[in-house]
C-alpha cells in the first residue's frame, strides 16, 4: 500500500495527516498575485487573435484558462519558477502559429525519463525553439491517478504547486488512459519532479511506451449500486502487483487493464483495454415489486430521472422494459414482474430503467475480455469474451495465476514488435489463445459459429495421422 507507513498520508479523517501547508511551495500572497482587472487587461506576449476567438461561447475556454496561468506566472517572476515564466505565453503563441498554418510544431519524441524507469515521461521538443524558447522542451510527466479519481484539496494543491513550480502549470485532468498529466517541463526538472512526487505527494509515475499503462477504473462501489465487484481495490491491487511491468518496458507494445463495475462500461474497458474486467453476476436480479408498482404508477421517474428533460409520456413497462429486453426473459402480468434469470444476458436495460426496483444479483464477479485496441494497425477491435465468470476478491490470485501471467508469458514470447494482444489473438487464433489459457472453447466466445469450413484439424485428431502411403492408396485406386 504505497510507501510503508504512509498509507494514510493524506487522510483528512486521521490525526496528523499531511496537509498542503506542510509541503507547499508558494505562499498565499504568491498564489493571489493578480486582480480581475489585470486579467481583463492581460495581453499575451505573442498576438493570438485566432485563439481569442475560442474565448467566445459558453463552454469553458481553455484559452481563457491559459491566459490566466500566463498572467499568474508573469507575476510570480522567474525567481519563483524553475522553468521559464513565459511557458504559457509561448504555448499560446505556438498554438496560434498552428492555427494559422494548420500543422503541429511539436517534434517527434525524444528519449527522456527518470533513472531506473523506462516510462512515465514523454519527451517533447518544439520545432520553433528560437521563437518560443520557453517551450523548447515541453516534456509530459504522467502521474498515477488515485482510484475513482477522488482527491482532497490538500493533495491537489500540492500537485498544482509542483506542476507550476517545476513545470508549465498546465495539466490534463486527466489523460486519455487516466493519468494526471503535468504538461510541459524541461529535462533538468524531471528528476526533481519525480522526487517531489514520491516524497511530498507519495505518488508514482504512470506508464508510457511498451509497458503496462496506468490501470484505470470506474467509480465502482465508492458510489454506484451497479458495482458487481470492487473496481477500485482490484485496480489498486493489480497496479501494485505489476509495478515492474508498469515502469520498465518489457512488453512487445502497450498493455492496458481497465476495470468496469458493470456491463454499462463507464470506463470503456471493452473498447480500450487489452484486458477488460467487467462486473457481472450469476444469480438472480433482485426485484422490489412495490417499487415496480411505483414506476408503473409514474411515482418514480424512469431511468433514474435521467430522461426527465422531455415529456416521454406515461411510463409503459411493457413497451419500455419487457419488449426491449434483448432476450425477452421478462414478464409483466399487470401486478407482478417476473424474470427468467437463466435466459437473462445481463444487459442492464431493465435495471438502468428502474434502478429503484431492480438490483444486480448478489453472487457477483467479473467477465474477462481480451484484445481491444484502436485502429492502428489491423483496424479497431473490441475485446473478446474469454472468461465468462471469475470471482474477483482480494488478493485476486485466481485471476493473476489463471489468466494474467499466462497471457503475459504468451504475448511476451510470441508477440511481434508493436503487436497488441488483440492482434496476436487475430494472428494466432482464438484456438491458440484457449490452449495458452488451458480452457475449452465455448459458444459464448463467438457471435456465431464460423461459416467457412476451413478447419485446421490437429494431426492427433485424425486416425493414422498425416503420413500417407501412396502405394497403399494406389492399391485401391490404379492410376
Amino acid at each position: 500500500m504505497g510507501i510503508p507507513g504512509q498509507e494514510k498520508l493524506w487522510d483528512k479523517e486521521e490525526k496528523g495527516h499531511r496537509t498542503y501547508n506542510d509541503v507547499r511551495i508558494f505562499t498565499d500572497d504568491q498564489l493571489n498575485n493578480y486582480t480581475e482587472e489585470e486579467l481583463k487587461n492581460f495581453k499575451n506576449k505573442h498576438d493570438i487573435p485566432m485563439l481569442e476567438e475560442l474565448e467566445k461561447g459558453p463552454w469553458p475556454s481553455f484559452v481563457s484558462d491559459l491566459k490566466r496561468e500566463a498572467l499568474h506566472r508573469r507575476k510570480l517572476g522567474k525567481d519563483n519558477l524553475m522553468i521559464e515564466q513565459d511557458v504559457a505565453e509561448d504555448l499560446l503563441g505556438l498554438m496560434e502559429l498552428s492555427y494559422k498554418e494548420g500543422e503541429t510544431h511539436w517534434k517527434h519524441g525524444g528519449i527522456v525519463g527518470v533513472l531506473g524507469y523506462g516510462g512515465g515521461v514523454i519527451g517533447r521538443y518544439c520545432d520553433q525553439q528560437q521563437k518560443f524558447p520557453a517551450i523548447a522542451h515541453f516534456h509530459t510527466v504522467r502521474v498515477a491517478q488515485p482510484g475513482g479519481k477522488f482527491y482532497t484539496t490538500d493533495y491537489l494543491r500540492t500537485f498544482c504547486d509542483i506542476a507550476e513550480y517545476r513545470g508549465s502549470g498546465i495539466t490534463n485532468l486527466h489523460g486519455s488512459t487516466g493519468d494526471m498529466v503535468i504538461l510541459g517541463t524541461f529535462t533538468d526538472q524531471l528528476e526533481p519532479i519525480f522526487f517531489d512526487l514520491t516524497h511530498d505527494l507519495g505518488v508514482d509515475l504512470g506508464g508510457s511506451g511498451s509497458n503496462l499503462r496506468t490501470p484505470s477504473d470506474c467509480i465502482g462501489p465508492a458510489r454506484c449500486e451497479f458495482a458487481c465487484y470492487d473496481t477500485l481495490d482490484m485496480c489498486y491491487n493489480l497496479t501494485m502487483t505489476y509495478q515492474d511491468e508498469l515502469h520498465r518496458p518489457a512488453f512487445p507494445y502497450k498493455f492496458k487493464f481497465k476495470f468496469d463495475g458493470c456491463p454499462n462500461g463507464c470506463v470503456a474497458s471493452i473498447a480500450r483495454s487489452d484486458m477488460a474486467f467487467i462486473g457481472t453476476w450469476k444469480d438472480d436480479i433482485r426485484i422490489n415489486q412495490d417499487a415496480v408498482q411505483e414506476y408503473v404508477a409514474n411515482k418514480i421517474p424512469r431511468d433514474g430521472g435521467g430522461m426527465s428533460g422531455k415529456d416521454w409520456g406515461k411510463f409503459d413497462i411493457q413497451a419500455e422494459v419487457i419488449d426491449l429486453c434483448p432476450t425477452k426473459c421478462m414478464n409483466w402480468d399487470g401486478k407482478k414482474l417476473t424474470i427468467n434469470n437463466a435466459e437473462c444476458n445481463r444487459c442492464m436495460h431493465c435495471i438502468n430503467t428502474m434502478p429503484e426496483a431492480l438490483r444486480i444479483g448478489k453472487d457477483t464477479g467479473v467477465s474477462i475480455l481480451l484484445g481491444a485496441k484502436a485502429p492502428i494497425l489491423e483496424g479497431a477491435q473490441m475485446s473478446v469474451l474469454t472468461i465468462p465468470f471469475a470471482y474477483a476478491k482480494n488478493p485476486y490470485d485466481n485471476i493473476k495465476n489463471g489468466v494474467i501471467s499466462k497471457i503475459f508469458d504468451w504475448w511476451i514470447e510470441e508477440g511481434k514488435n508493436r503487436e497488441r494482444l488483440g492482434e496476436l489473438i487475430q494472428r494466432m487464433g482464438l484456438k491458440t489463445l484457449i490452449e495458452v489459457l488451458g480452457i475449452p472453447a465455448m459458444p459464448q466466445m463467438v457471435k456465431e459459429p464460423r461459416s467457412n469450413p476451413y478447419v485446421f484439424f490437429k494431426e492427433e485428431e485424425v486416425p493414422g495421422g498425416w503420413t500417407r502411403d501412396i502405394n497403399d492408396y494406389r492399391s485401391r485406386h490404379p492410376r
Binding site: W59, P60, F138, F159, D161, T198, E225, P355, E356
Partner: protein, 392 residues
C-alpha cells in the same frame, strides 16, 4: 517543501533517497467520509435535476453529487479554484469523472442546489463558463479528447479547439436531459486514437490525406530502416539506396492510407500538411451493453477541412446529426440503434449527408459491410444509381 533547481534530488548522488514503485496514492484516504461509510452499500440513485445526482445507501444515507464540465486542459490556477469551491462546499473533497467532468459530493439537496448556482455563476473574464453544471442523464456530456496541436507530434487536427466549438454549439444539450438516450461525443486528432473514439455515438477523427514526405537527407541516420519498412500495414515502404550511396526508404504513394504508423517509427517521414489534413466524422458506436452489444462507430463523412479557429463545417455537421436524432429517435434508442432501425440509407437522407465512394469500405474484411440482401429503402441515392446505370 522542495525549493531550488534540484529540490530533494542530489545530482551527485542520484540514488540517494530515491523512492520507486510506490504506485498511486491509495484511494480510500481520498474518499469523502460519507462514501467510505457506505462503500459497496449503495441501493439506488436518481438524477434530481440536470447536474445533480442523489445516491441512496442501505444505511438510508443520501449523498448528492454536483457535476460540472470543464476543459481537459486545466491550469494550476483553475484547479486551485476548484479546490476553493470544494473547501467551501464539500469539506475539501472533489473528484473527476471518466469524461473529464468534475464532481463535488455534498450531504443535502439544498447544499447541492446552492453549489450548482455558485458553479454556474463563475465565468472567465472573456465570458465563457468556468464550471457549467450538467452532464447527467440523457444529455451530451463532456467530450473526451486527445492533445492536438497543444502537445502532440502526429495530429491531423487540433483537439481542444474543435471540442470547445462543438460544445459551445451543443451547450444546451449538456445542461438538459432531453435526448432519447445518452449521446457520447469524442475526438481523436489522428488514427492512433489515444482517445479511442471508435465506439462513440459521434466521433471526430483527425485524418491526414497526403502520404509522408521523405526526408532522405537524414532518414538513414535517424531511423531503423527495417523497422520503418515493417511498420507499414500496406507494405508500401521499401528500402532504397540513394545515388550518393546513402540508405533511405521510398513510399509507394498509390498504396499509402496515411495512417502515420511509419512516422511513429521514424521522424523523417512527416505527414502533417495544411491542405491534406482535416477531420472525418464517425457515428453510431457505443460502449454500453444495454439492450444490444457495444458497436463501432462508422465513417459517415470522410473529410472536412480544418477551418480554424472555429471549424464551422464540423460544428454544423454534428449539430445537424444531433438535431435530427433528437427529433426522430425512439426513447432508449442510441444514435446507432436509430440509424440501424431506419436503415443507414434513411439516416443519410434525413441528416442530409452525401454518401460518396469514400464510405465504401476497401480495407480488410470490407465484404462484411456490404449489403447482401434485397432489403433496402428507396431514397434519392437509390434512384441516382438506377438512372446512372441507364436502367430506369
Amino acid at each position: 517543501m522542495s525549493k531550488g533547481k534540484f529540490g530533494y534530488y542530489n545530482p551527485q548522488k542520484p540514488q540517494e533517497n530515491r523512492i520507486t514503485d510506490v504506485g498511486p496514492v491509495h484511494y480510500m484516504q481520498l474518499l469523502p467520509p460519507s462514501l467510505r461509510k457506505n462503500y459497496g452499500q449503495w441501493v439506488s440513485h436518481r438524477v434530481i435535476e440536470p447536474g445533480i445526482l442523489m445516491h441512496v445507501a442501505e444505511s438510508g444515507d443520501k449523498v448528492y453529487s454536483v457535476r460540472c464540465g470543464g476543459a481537459r486542459i486545466m491550469s494550476a490556477e483553475h484547479i486551485r479554484e476548484i479546490c476553493d469551491i470544494a473547501d467551501k462546499f464539500a469539506n475539501g473533497y472533489v473528484r473527476w469523472t471518466t469524461r473529464n467532468n468534475v464532481e463535488f459530493i455534498v450531504d443535502s439537496e439544498q447544499k447541492a442546489k446552492d453549489l450548482k448556482k455558485e458553479l454556474d455563476n463563475r465565468k472567465f473574464v472573456a465570458g465563457s463558463h468556468k464550471f457549467p453544471v450538467g452532464g447527467t442523464g440523457n444529455c451530451i456530456t463532456n467530450i473526451v479528447h486527445t492533445q492536438g496541436w497543444i502537445h502532440c507530434h502526429t495530429p491531423a487536427t487540433d483537439a481542444s479547439g474543435p471540442v470547445k466549438v462543438v460544445m459551445d454549439e451543443l451547450f444546451d444539450y449538456f445542461k438538459s436531459m432531453t435526448l432519447p438516450a445518452k449521446l457520447r461525443i469524442s475526438l481523436a486528432c489522428c488514427l492512433n486514437m489515444c482517445g479511442a473514439v471508435h465506439c462513440s455515438d459521434i466521433a471526430m477523427l483527425g485524418y491526414h490525406r497526403k502520404p509522408p514526405a521523405e526526408d532522405h537527407e537524414v532518414l538513414g541516420k535517424v531511423c531503423e530502416i527495417p523497422l520503418v519498412v515493417a511498420a507499414c500495414p500496406l507494405y508500401a515502404i521499401k528500402p532504397i539506396t540513394l545515388e550518393d550511396g546513402r540508405k533511405s526508404v521510398t513510399v509507394n504513394k498509390e498504396k499509402c492510407m496515411y495512417c502515420g504508423n511509419c512516422y511513429t517509427m521514424c521522424m523523417a517521414l512527416p505527414l502533417a500538411d495544411k491542405e491534406g489534413d482535416g477531420v472525418a466524422i464517425l457515428a453510431g458506436g457505443k460502449i454500453s451493453n444495454r439492450i444490444n452489444p457495444p458497436k463501432f462507430s462508422k465513417v459517415i463523412v470522410p473529410w472536412l477541412p480544418n477551418n480554424m479557429p472555429r471549424w464551422p463545417e464540423v460544428v454544423s455537421t454534428i449539430k445537424k446529426i444531433v438535431e435530427v436524432y433528437a427529433k426522430e429517435a425512439n426513447k432508449y434508442e442510441r444514435l446507432g440503434d436509430w440509424a440501424e432501425r431506419i436503415g443507414w440509407e434513411r439516416f443519410f437522407e434525413k441528416v442530409g449527408l452525401e454518401f460518396s465512394w469514400h464510405l465504401l469500405d476497401d480495407y480488410r474484411l470490407a465484404y462484411d459491410t456490404f449489403r447482401t440482401s434485397t432489403q433496402f429503402k428507396y431514397t434519392d441515392h437509390a434512384w441516382a444509381v438506377s438512372k446512372a446505370a441507364g436502367v430506369i
